[in-house]
């Protein structure tokens, strides 16, 4: 699974993207976030306010109960501020 981070998520985690092997126990965006937080303090900091973070699976916005699988591209980022 490819994971991308943008804006201050990227800065707090320290990488713009990474490839992970998705554990069998992880089936949703929420599950993935729980698993990431358990890995490292940087993630815990980046995901501290989970309710403000937006997730996109395969470049479509999804809610955090959305399913994920190992061949997905998933991105986490703060609310957008373009325009």
């Amino acid at each position: 699974m490819k994971i991308l981070y943008f804006a201050w998520m990227r800065q707090r985690i320290g990488v713009s993207h990474e490839n992970i092997e998705l554990p069998n126990s992880v089936n949703t965006v929420d599950g993935l976030v729980d698993w990431l937080i358990a890995r490292d303090d940087g993630y815990a900091k980046a995901f501290a306010k989970r309710e403000v973070i937006r997730a996109a699976v395969n470049q479509e916005y999804v809610p955090f109960d959305h399913a994920v699988s190992d061949d997905d591209e998933i991105a986490f980022f703060p609310p957008v501020t373009g325009g």
């Binding site: 991308l4 943008f6 804006a7 201050w8 990227r10 996109a56 470049q59 916005y61 991105a75 980022f77 703060p78 609310p79 957008v80 501020t81 373009g82 325009g83």
Partner: protein
């Protein structure tokens, strides 16, 4: 048409290309977003030295194309254009340009505003402002969510 690019753009040339030759067009509404010199941080205005626009290549183009397609289903547009820049910008620089051409002026105005409201909340761009007191990520504004929400209903296209 949508374009995501680092380089600047020429509004006169873009508008000429948009309408050129199509004499069924009665009006063109457009909006240009510029980098402002001041940013409110915790209630105080700070001078902006530079602004960096980060985006999500791939998803950005996809969302902008979806937004443009949606505008074209809602209003009878002869042509539409969204240009959004990324990278390092300075106060006064052009960030975004949206233009809608239609036989009718109200459709052109409404579609243009719709495109701006939607891209503000849906297009994956993030602004980092380098101010005189350090670098700050711009926070999303509730007013942008409210601006988008007014387009929930289908518009009246008869006027």
């Amino acid at each position: 048409m949508i374009r995501v690019q680092e380089e600047d753009f020429d509004i006169g040339a873009e508008l000429a290309a948009l309408t050129g030759g199509d004499i069924s067009i009665g009006g063109v509404a457009s909006f240009t977003g510029l980098v402002r010199d001041m940013a409110p941080i915790d209630g105080t205005d700070h001078n902006i030295k530079t602004m960096t626009l980060e985006h999500y290549p791939g998803m950005t183009e996809k969302k902008l194309a979806e937004i443009e397609a949606e505008a074209n289903t809602r209003w009878p547009l002869a042509a539409s254009l969204i240009i959004h820049r990324y990278g390092s910008l300075s106060p006064g620089d052009q960030i975004v340009f949206v233009a809608c051409a239609s036989a009718h002026r109200q459709a052109a105005f409404d579609a243009c505003q719709f495109l701006m409201d939607w891209l503000k909340t849906d297009a994956p761009f993030w602004k980092l402002e380098d101010t005189d007191t350090g670098s700050v990520w711009v926070e999303a504004r509730d007013s942008d969510d409210r601006a988008k929400s007014r387009w929930t209903d289908k518009p009246d296209t008869t006027s």
